[in-house]
Amino acid sequence: MPDLTVDTVVLRQVAAQVRDAVDVLTPNRLDATAPCPLVDASLGASALGREVVGLAERRVRQGLEAADTLSTTARAAADGLDQAAAAFDDVEATAAEPAVPSQLPAPSSLPAFGPPPAAGPAGPPRPR
């Protein structure tokens, strides 16, 4: 079974950072509940005008749902990280020879945030 390298203190810091992302991603209440001010003929009575009004309302609402879904998913991920940290702490407390940073086997009881390890990819470029 491959080993995991875990620092639960930092892991909790990461969870807190992800919660910061949750706060940012959550649409404000006014936007989330705002009625669309556009009505059917707001951009003219033509079929094109009515079509654009329908599309405009739908796309902004889909954007709101996208942000809401991302924030909810990120919140679940933050919770998962905290639970993982707690589970690692429990395992470490009962381990015979703990080390810091821990060199722990991946117990089947841990929140299996997937298979271990190997060096991860660099990830996407940070927005500038």
């Binding site: 995991l4 390298t5 875990v6 930092v10 810091q13 990461v14 950072q17 992800v18 910061d20 949750v22 940012v24 991603l25 404000n28 936007d31 001010p37 556009l38 009505v39 059917d40 003929a41 707001s42 951009l43 003219g44 033509s46 079929a47 094109l48 009515r50 079509e51 654009v52 599309l55 405009a56 739908r58 796309r59 902004v60 609402r61 889909q62 954007g63 709101l64 749902e65 996208a66 879904t69 991302l70 909810t72 998913t73 990120a74 679940a76 991920a77 998962g80 991946a106 929140p111 299996a112 945030f113 997937g114 298979p115 271990p116 190997a118 991860g120 990819p121 990830g123 996407p124 927005p127």
Partner: protein, 544 residues
């Protein structure tokens, strides 16, 4: 304010510039900007959220060597950036469109004012009476007045063209769905645990509903009763659709019983992520037992929707939720449930063919089901329904009873239902979003069907009565009448249907009156365009 320009233009035979400028002058750009300000704020949130997730991801590498958590944060930040990119293009296009519309409006008003001044120089007063104008034109002003108004009309047409072009650009930019990148995210954590509530919750709810109803169908299918025949028919339709590669969700099922044909609704496509959801409402002689036909129609409409609006996702629901008249002739349940009484039951089942009573009851059920299906779909989903024949009358009743639909399409309707005088009577659907297709060759859409129903029925006051309500393709109804031609006539499916339909209506040309005929060719394309909200692609014509 510029009525004098209209009056003089009509007088000298020039296209009315004020009417041509109406859309430009009334465009509500303030609302357009206000709505996309919401999107602008979302852009910022998605950008900052992606940055925060990437910051967390960078630290996570030092805290936990496992790859999966990092990968999840990567996916989240990528999805946030991708959604933002879509919104950025759309807010930019909306700002550009609003600017063009404002400019076109300003220039139009300026052109109107300039024309008024030029006409005043000829002595024309906006407040003058028609007799004064007429005298002036007779005295040599016809040509200069016409020249000024012709020039004005051309300028207004040019400005209107700019406005239409900017709307077209905005329409193009709005093709992208900012929710798409998020829909591609996993719905559960790598080690278990569900992510999200809205999207994932809807998927879970639809999945649980589907599993429960399939279990009930499987149990009922083992029975030899009407319920068994009915359940086997539904499962057969579901199996065929799945074999054809469709994602199928059973949304409603109530078993058949003697005298009740049962109810069922099956969705093709992912209801919980669909941009557009359309319900198909069949007509007389249909039943859930023979749902394969409805599922084939749903698949055809889904394919048409993919052509009409590439990139959008459309789910189509084959809805068999009302007691369709005449179904006992075709679904086999009558024979099994009432031995020896099959013919009697079938005849009894045909009497509702003579009026819209079944449609009125069905309309209530349809309105309720639309609400239930809405709860399983995205809040932003565009909902429409397409009814054929008695199904169109049923849909019309549902629209009157506040069915939460954005658009309706009435195909081959014998009438819009008694008590409904015009599209203005619909509670939730605007006349501009009420579409009607009535082939000239389809006898069921003609007035004769009402007269024959009166002759056969017994509760009408005379041949002037409309047992199915007014013709929705007629001018007084006020709907959008689609300009579509019938397709090659198809053979009537079974001799018994032809015999019964012919006996009841006494009408020829029924080959044109088929759901499949209406869902093909130009009618099918127009229906797919309505279902996907592509109104500019729907050809309309003058009503009857």
């Amino acid at each position: 304010m510029y009525e004098h320009l209209s009056r003089w233009a009509i007088f000298v035979g020039v296209p009315d510039p004020v009417a041509a400028a109406q859309d430009v002058l009334t465009a509500d750009t303030a609302s357009l900007r206000a709505w996309f300000a919401v999107a602008r704020r979302l852009e910022v949130r998605l950008w900052q959220g992606a940055a925060a997730l990437l910051d967390a991801r960078a630290v996570l590498g030092a805290a936990w060597s496992a790859e999966a958590p990092r990968h999840l944060l990567d996916q989240l930040s990528e999805a946030a950036l991708a959604s933002r990119e879509v919104l950025t293009a759309q807010t930019g296009a909306a700002d550009g469109c609003a600017a063009v519309l404002d400019q076109a409006s300003t220039l139009t008003v300026r052109a109107f004012d300039a024309a008024t001044v030029s006409l005043a120089a000829l002595g024309r007063d906006p407040a003058e009476g028609l007799n004064v104008t007429a005298r002036a034109l007779q005295e040599g002003q016809q040509e200069p007045v016409a020249a000024i108004l012709t020039s004005l009309s051309e300028e207004v047409t040019r400005l209107n063209g700019l406005a239409v072009a900017s709307l077209g650009e905005l329409q193009h930019a709005l093709a992208g769905d900012p929710l798409d990148p998020v829909e591609r995210l996993p719905t559960s954590l790598p080690g278990g645990g569900r992510l999200g509530t809205g999207l994932a919750g809807r998927a879970a709810a639809a999945g649980e509903l589907d599993a429960g109803l399939r279990a009930q169908l499987a149990a009922d299918a083992a029975a030899g009763s009407a319920a068994g025949i009915n359940a086997r028919g539904i499962l057969d339709a579901v199996g065929r659709a799945e074999a054809g590669g469709e994602q199928v969700t059973v949304l409603a099922y109530e078993p058949a019983s003697p005298g009740q044909q049962g109810r069922a609704a099956v969705a093709l496509g992912a209801l919980h992520t669909a941009d557009h959801v359309a319900l198909l409402v069949p007509g007389s002689f249909s039943s859930a037992t023979r749902m394969t036909t409805g599922v084939e129609h749903a698949a055809a409409l889904r394919a048409g929707a993919a052509v009409a609006s590439p990139g959008d996702e459309t789910a189509v629901v084959a809805w068999y939720g009302y007691d369709t008249p005449g179904s006992a002739w075709t679904d086999g349940t009558a024979v099994s449930s009432v031995p020896g009484g099959a013919a009697l039951l079938a005849i009894g089942d045909s009497l509702p063919l003579l009026d819209d009573a079944a449609a009125a009851v069905g309309g209530e059920e349809l309105a309720a089901d639309v609400g239930a299906f809405r709860a399983l779909a995205a809040p932003s989903a565009h909902f429409s329904a397409v009814g054929f024949s008695m199904g169109a009358t049923t849909l019309s009743h549902a629209a009157e009873q506040n069915a939460d639909l954005d658009d309706i399409v009435l195909l081959g309707a014998p009438g819009a239902g008694r008590g409904i005088s015009s599209a203005e009577d619909y509670a939730a659907v605007e006349p501009a979003h009420t579409y009607v297709v009535a082939f000239d060759q389809d006898p069921i859409t003609q007035a004769g069907v009402d007269v024959r129903a009166w002759l056969l029925g017994d509760d009408f006051s005379g041949p002037a009565a409309e047992p199915f309500g007014p013709d929705p393709a007629a001018a007084p109804f006020g709907a959008q009448v689609v300009d579509a031609e019938t397709n090659e006539p198809v053979d009537v499916e079974t001799p018994v249907v032809a015999a019964v339909a012919g006996a009841v209506s006494g009408l020829g040309g029924l080959a044109h009156h088929r759901f499949g005929n209406y869902l093909r060719g130009s009618s099918g394309s127009a229906t797919a365009s309505v279902v996907t909200g592509r109104y500019a692609d729907v050809p309309t014509k003058a009503p009857r």
